[in-house]
């Protein structure tokens, strides 16, 4: 088992002919993801050549792509100015999970998009996220397939390479993952820690969860409350940005301490109050998970 994506995922790549879109499509096919279609307006009838000569048909619109291929998931590699439109197009075409990789989407666009997706019953992951991977089954986005391995740990993170770091240690310690989800570094994200926790809690194969948070917002605090009230799985947490100054954006659009709110200290305190083990260093994450799994 896994959450959100697995062997039944039928993926459309929006922006398949772009630089990033084509590169990562190859990577995803290579990993075993069923990429059933691509969309680039004006390129209908062409096809994308996979690494082993696979031919992925390209359509002008999501509507046509979904009608022809019964796709259920999409991933978005279009430029920021068009990303909101692409997400709404996917939701309108009946896609259930929309993974928005694009960084730099205007936040007011996302406010409208999240309302639209809710109206349509679609889940958005991101934007500004690395996507997700269910080891051995499916990968959607840009997470490197070679650092993960199948196993019992669910990973949720607001960050990209920091997740790789954490997962790398897990994998090296021979602790595999059910699914690793990068929820994204933007202020308005479609899928939160809580949404992922809910899904992992329902997944019988997930035996522990890792949450990698950072400064900004209160998503980690809400996750902590949720863990305390609803989650019986062991949870290990990490928060990046203890040394970040207030009111400065740390790379991610959402990583900003506003006045005195959103600090690493308050997030770590919330984790601890909810019985979540908090790692002091990235390398410690795997150690704490190993200890929890050994109990």
């Amino acid at each position: 088992m896994a959450i959100f994506i697995d062997e039944n995922t039928r993926l459309v790549v929006q922006g398949i002919t772009g630089r990033d879109g084509s590169f990562h499509t190859t990577q995803m096919i290579d990993y075993g993801t069923q990429v059933v279609a691509g969309v680039t307006p004006g390129k209908s009838g062409q096809s994308f050549a996979g690494p082993k000569g696979e031919k992925v048909p390209i359509f002008n619109s999501m509507d046509a792509a979904v009608a022809a291929t019964s796709a259920n998931t999409s991933v978005i590699y279009v430029p920021p100015a068009f990303a909101a439109g692409a997400i709404m197009e996917a939701a309108d075409a009946g896609i259930r999970l929309i993974v928005a990789i694009t960084e730099g989407v205007p936040v007011l666009d996302m406010a409208r998009v999240h309302a639209f997706a809710r109206d349509k019953g679609a889940r958005v992951l991101g934007p500004n996220c690395p996507g997700l991977i269910s080891p051995g089954k499916c990968k959607v986005g840009i997470l490197p397939g070679q650092i993960v391995t199948q196993g019992p740990v669910g990973v949720i993170s607001r960050s990209g390479t920091l997740t790789y770091e954490a997962v790398y240690h897990l994998t090296n310690a021979e602790i595999g993952q059910t699914t690793c989800v990068g929820i994204g570094g933007d202020p308005l994200i479609g899928t939160t820690f809580v949404d992922c926790l809910e899904a992992f809690a329902r997944d019988p194969e997930t035996k522990a969860v890792v949450m990698i948070g950072e400064i900004g917002g209160t998503d980690e605090q809400e996750a902590a409350s949720y863990v305390r009230e609803h989650v019986r799985l062991p949870v290990v947490g990490f928060i990046a940005g203890q040394t970040a100054p207030p009111d400065r954006r740390m790379g991610h659009a959402g990583a900003i301490i506003s006045g005195s709110a959103g600090t690493a200290v308050e997030k770590m305190a919330a984790f601890e109050a909810a019985g979540i083990q908090v790692a002091k260093r990235p390398a410690e994450i795997a150690e704490l998970v190993a200890a929890e799994l050994d109990r």
């Binding site: 936040v107 406010a111 409208r112 920091l162 950072e214 954006r249 790379g251």
Partner: protein, 378 residues
């Protein structure tokens, strides 16, 4: 991106919000001329992207034009929270009966804009939220409908008792919402929103931050960027598409990915060092970017060691290693460099680095400890 008070007031005025007359001055003579034109008592206000201007002496009342000139000469060049004042706003001084707060920001949890109003204006709204939350009214604005007329009224009704002031307040709230949307703002606030003794409602101070991601749509606002108001290193980084934030420590950090960059800073601190900066060089192995990164880091005289922490995921480590070496050859660096590379093709990368005579690591803990040692020894 923040804009100055005087720029925010131009936007408010255009949208139909009453703002006292005033103009920006860059010299004492200009300030004097503006004060003369306005007549009566004026306020001279430092234009910097920092709070606490009043406490720092950056806001002064002037009863005459000559006084405005004198205040301006004192305020220009003043340093407020590390920023040097380059201009002042000279504006008509209003008599104040009451002070309120009115603002809009994007609320993460609500996934929507949030309107906030408080009859306790003139002080930081966070302070109000903490100490007297009953004096703060909040309203989630549904992005599908925008601010509705009855919502604007509901907000103003919280601020005022007088029907005419409620009406003025509701009008200002509707206009402020338009400013927020039309500017692609992430935050706009009027603080204080005053009433005069005769009952007029006016915006006395205003702040506006624009979502950087919206700037391509709002070129007239992008043009308001005051490059003199930001540290040169950050401007350089922004232009090279690097995320850089200067800190006060000695360990210069160069990391791929924002989360890993923060974690690296934290680990420097964990092992007893102090990070000199946040810097995310992103996912590419382009030597040009690394060159710019190194230039920015080495321009900081505090930096005693440079620490690379790279996790090669999609980008292969050997490519990144080549990029770093090429960059190092192109500029002259006086401080030691330690490099950590892990992930895809790390063995080949380590080989390349060793050949070039670089200190190479695969463990983040090891490299950070080494960097902290070197910074301490220097």
């Amino acid at each position: 991106m923040d804009i100055h008070e005087y720029q925010a007031k131009v936007l408010l005025r255009k949208a139909g919000i009453p703002v006292p007359p005033g103009e920006v001055a860059e010299t004492p003579a200009e300030a004097e001329a503006i004060a003369k034109k306005l007549g009566g008592t004026v306020v001279v206000k430092a234009q910097v992207h920092a709070g606490g201007r009043g406490k720092a002496g950056g806001v002064q009342l002037a009863k005459t034009a000559a006084e405005a000139r004198d205040h301006t000469s004192k305020i220009l060049g003043m340093e407020i929270k590390g920023l040097v004042v380059q201009s002042v706003l000279v504006t008509h001084a209003e008599e104040i009966a009451t002070e309120a707060y009115l603002g809009v920001l994007v609320d993460r949890k609500l996934q929507a804009p949030l309107f906030m109003a408080s009859p306790a204006g003139g002080i930081d709204i966070e302070e109000v939220a903490r100490s007297t939350p009953e004096k703060l009214r909040k309203l989630r604005v549904d992005p599908r409908y925008g601010l509705l007329p009855h919502q604007a009224y509901w907000i103003a009704d919280f601020l005022y008792d007088d029907p005419d002031q409620i009406k003025q307040g509701a009008h200002i709230a509707e206009r402020l919402w338009r400013v927020f949307i039309d500017a692609g703002a992430s935050m706009v606030e009027i603080n204080p929103l005053i009433t005069t003794p005769s009952g007029e409602v006016k915006a006395i101070d205003a702040k506006l931050s624009v979502d950087d991601n919206e700037l391509f749509r709002h070129l007239e606002i992008a043009d308001m960027r005051d490059t003199t108001a930001e540290p040169p290193a950050e401007m350089l980084a922004r232009e090279a598409n690097l995320s850089y934030v200067k800190l006060d420590g000695t360990v210069g950090c160069c990391v791929n990915g924002a989360g890993l960059a923060m974690a690296t800073m934290d680990l420097v601190s964990f092992y007893g060092g102090e990070p000199a900066n946040f810097l995310d060089i992103g996912g590419s192995s382009n030597p040009d970017k690394v060159v710019t990164a190194l230039e920015i880091i080495t321009a900081d005289a505090n930096v005693k060691v440079i620490l690379f922490n790279i996790f090669g995921g999609i980008t292969r480590c050997d490519d990144v290693a080549k990029g770093i070496i090429e960059a190092m050859q192109r500029i002259d660096i006086k401080v030691p460099i330690v490099i950590r590379l892990t992930g895809t093709n790390e063995d080949a990368a380590l080989e390349i680095l060793k050949e070039a005579g670089c200190a190479a690591y695969t463990s983040m803990d090891d490299v950070v400890k080494k960097a902290v040692d070197l910074a301490g020894a220097a």
